[in-house]
């Protein structure tokens, strides 16, 4: 519960920072273009702090930390003295107005680039690039990759961590190219292995590319099959499983890792299973019927037990840091990729292509990237960067009341050669709010769906 409150608080602080960045973009560009800014407020509502600068601009901090705003001189929002009209927003040529509008989302992207770059300079944690499993029938298996292969370099570039190859493989898989690895096999030989990415189906080129598309799964410590929690109301409770039980066999098959247990239970939805556990030195055989859960297009089984997260041994964790220029480049690249993924997620949501499995949003990506392993400030900065990107992309959507909606109005103005009428703006606002609510309901609905599964 406390953790939950922490994450809520963290989210509000993050949003506060990022909205401030966003509004500062509008503010800064408006001033640079000679538009008069009346008020720049971080946070809404009554001001808990405010100062008036020499030029009359009011700087304020509002009491509600969600959001903020920039108020510019504008004849649509009040009378403007004749001698100040040239500084009013609505009197500016359309390209200036568009730049002011565009600046908000742009600053969010700049912020993300800076944040990612900082993380890259500081160093990214990852796991040593050792193959833990090669999926049967996969491209990787066909090209000879074996369990225990240490990946030394990829196309001549030294590989420091498992996570580092992801972006590169993405682009090469897209280009249908073959990449070449230098590999140390488990018997100590150093050889060259090629991976023909042209054989990866186009549809698999997504967040799960390396594991699901190519079939290479990185080494991860074996999680012992010891039950940590038995979730109330699920089959495991009724069957009599207890925390601390060590599972030794499922349906006659001996198991040594948590993954094997999960696999066997998943494969048997609705079928009675005989599970042997070791409890206080005695073996017990328990019968349980996994409940049927819909996962994407498949039915899988669940009984409602969970495991304690395992710590990755120190000697398997690598910290890679980069020089300033390389970090900036990687930061920009990551921002671009995150924007792409955010946009795609939105498209998928709108087109109702949202089966609970297939949606790979930025958060999933972050997990794939192994960043969830990070703690403290770094993870908060990464979180800020992701939310900043979402804010930037979301605000660029052509929905009235968002920045993208303003740009849409500007486009209409260019096409029809007159400003959008007030009536249309009011209708647009209603539609915009409706669309936003729809989008939010969809997101929540989808997340709930995932939680319930």
């Amino acid at each position: 519960m406390l953790e939950f409150l922490y994450s809520i608080a963290g989210f509000i602080i993050a949003l506060g920072i990022l909205v401030a960045v966003h509004e500062f973009g509008h503010f800064w560009v408006a001033r640079k273009l000679g538009i008069k800014v009346l008020k720049f407020s971080v946070g809404f509502g009554r001001a808990i702090w405010s100062r008036t600068a020499n030029d009359g601009t009011v700087y304020a901090v509002g009491v509600i930390p969600l959001g903020g705003y920039v108020k510019m001189l504008d004849e649509n929002e009040g009378d403007v003295a004749v001698e100040e009209q040239h500084r009013a927003f609505n009197r500016q040529p359309i390209w200036k107005r568009s730049l002011v509008v565009l600046a908000g989302p742009m600053f969010n992207f700049f912020f993300a680039i800076a944040a990612y770059s900082l993380v890259f300079v500081n160093g990214v944690e990852g796991i040593t690039p050792v193959v833990g499993k090669v999926v049967e029938g996969s491209v990787a298996e066909a090209d000879g990759f074996r369990n225990g292969d240490v990946l030394l370099s990829l196309d001549g570039k030294k590989l420091n961590s498992w996570q580092e190859q992801r972006l590169y493989l993405f682009s090469k898989a897209l280009a249908r190219k073959t990449v070449s690895y230098e590999v140390r096999t488990s018997d100590g030989q150093e050889i060259r292995r090629t991976l023909n990415l042209a054989n990866v189906p186009m549809s698999e080129i997504d967040a799960g590319l390396v594991a699901e598309g190519i079939g290479l799964i990185g080494w991860y410590p074996t999680v012992p099959p010891v039950i940590d929690q038995v979730i109330s109301g699920k089959p495991a409770v009724r069957a009599g499983f207890l925390p601390g039980d060590l599972i030794t066999a499922v349906d006659g098959e001996k198991v040594a890792s948590w993954n094997e247990v999960v696999q066997l239970i998943s494969d048997n939805p609705g079928k009675p299973l005989r599970i042997v556990v070791s409890r206080n030195g005695f073996f017990e055989s328990i019968s349980v019927i996994p409940e049927v859960v819909i996962d994407g297009e498949k039915q899988i089984g669940r009984i409602g037990i969970s495991v304690k997260p395992i710590e990755i041994p120190e000697d398997r964790i690598v910290n890679t840091n980069y020089g300033l220029m390389e970090s900036l480049y990687r930061g920009t690249e990551t921002t671009w990729m995150m924007s792409v993924l955010t946009l795609r997620m939105l498209v998928k949501m709108v087109t109702l292509e949202v089966s609970s499995k297939n949606i790979s949003g930025p958060i999933t990506i972050a997990q794939y990237a192994g960043k969830s392993a990070q703690v403290g400030l770094t993870s908060f900065i990464l979180f800020l960067a992701i939310v900043s990107v979402s804010l930037g992309v979301l605000n660029l959507l052509p929905i009235p009341i968002l920045d993208g909606g303003h740009l849409l109005y500007h486009l209409i103005e260019v096409i029809t050669r007159k400003p959008v009428s007030e009536k249309l703006m009011i209708i647009g606002q209603q539609v915009g709010i409706l669309l936003l609510f729809l989008l939010m309901s969809l997101a929540v609905y989808n997340d709930l769906g995932r939680l319930l599964n």
């Binding site: 249908r176 920009t332 946009l343 260019v414």
Partner: protein
């Protein structure tokens, strides 16, 4: 200002939209529903009509010669298609020829009425028609063949060309001040060119974001490539313009009410496609099915 023009302008716009409403379904059907054979038959029809217009522009009078010109063009296109030489090499040559066209345009822009140096006469003008139109048809067919059920690469190409067109028109109308090539096409402005470029880049970036996973380096290369493709679309426009100017006509034909002739619709496509094909080859986007292209 131009009060008397307004009604005709409105009629023109109506016609234009109506024609577009008829053409769009045909275009979409061609892209998504037709198989390769149907598509190539459609292309043959478009090629025939375009060659007919080109024959008029380059001053062929006799109907017999027009017929021979068109038939020969279609046969040449078919021979290319079945000979298996439609590939990177072909488009490098065609691209080089378009660079020569750029040179010819500069020549023309410098000296008024320098038709002779910039344009071919007689057979040379006829060859220009083949050079402009046949590779276009071959390229479109290759793109369709690459993925005939979901022709992404074709769709992205047309989105780029259309957004460049529309962006140039709107930006030119709103901010247009500095003429781009007053002797060739007095309506074009530098502001329009910039607007077209920006519109094409935005659309290209969106397309890349939605369809591919590009690294930053590849994204920048892709945008640079799209900028070049867009510039060539303008070159195609201007090149047809000087032919029209010499022939003393405003439109290449009357087939598409409100739009002019077919050539007026596809002139930018013709010049942009070879560079687009080279971009795709360079990005290895066509490599996977290299053989089916030839």
């Amino acid at each position: 200002m131009q009060g008397s023009d307004e009604p005709t302008k409105q009629v023109m716009l109506k016609q234009r939209l109506l024609t577009a409403a008829v053409l769009m379904p045909i275009f979409l059907a061609a892209l998504f529903l037709m198989d390769e054979l149907g598509f190539s038959i459609l292309l043959a029809v478009v090629l025939a009509l375009s060659l007919f217009e080109w024959a008029n522009l380059s001053g062929i009078q006799s109907h017999t010669i027009k017929g021979i010109y068109i038939a020969a063009g279609i046969i040449i296109a078919a021979m290319f298609l079945y000979s298996g030489v439609v590939g990177q090499e072909l488009f490098i040559i065609v691209f080089a020829l378009w660079l020569v066209v750029v040179y010819r345009l500069f020549q023309f822009a410098k000296r008024e009425h320098a038709y002779k140096s910039a344009l071919g006469n007689g057979p040379l003008a006829w060859l220009d028609g083949y050079f402009v139109l046949i590779p276009t048809v071959l390229g479109l067919q290759a793109l369709k063949a690459y993925d005939s059920a979901a022709p992404q690469l074709l769709l992205i190409f047309f989105f780029i060309i259309w957004s460049a067109d529309t962006g140039a028109y709107l930006a030119g109308r709103t901010w247009g001040k500095h003429k781009l090539a007053p002797r060739i096409s007095p309506g074009k402005t530098i502001e329009g060119l910039i607007g077209g470029l920006l519109a094409a880049l935005v659309v290209a970036a969106l397309a890349a974001a939605l369809v591919w996973e590009l690294s930053l380096q590849e994204l920048l290369l892709w945008l640079l490539a799209v900028a070049i493709v867009t510039l060539f679309s303008v070159v195609g426009d201007l090149f047809e313009s000087i032919y029209k100017r010499r022939a003393g006509v405003k439109d290449s034909g009357k087939l598409l009410p409100g739009h002019g002739g077919i050539l007026d619709r596809i002139d930018s496509t013709c010049a942009a496609l070879p560079s687009y094909m080279l971009v795709l080859y360079q990005f290895d986007l066509l490599a996977a099915t290299g053989t089916s292209l030839s």
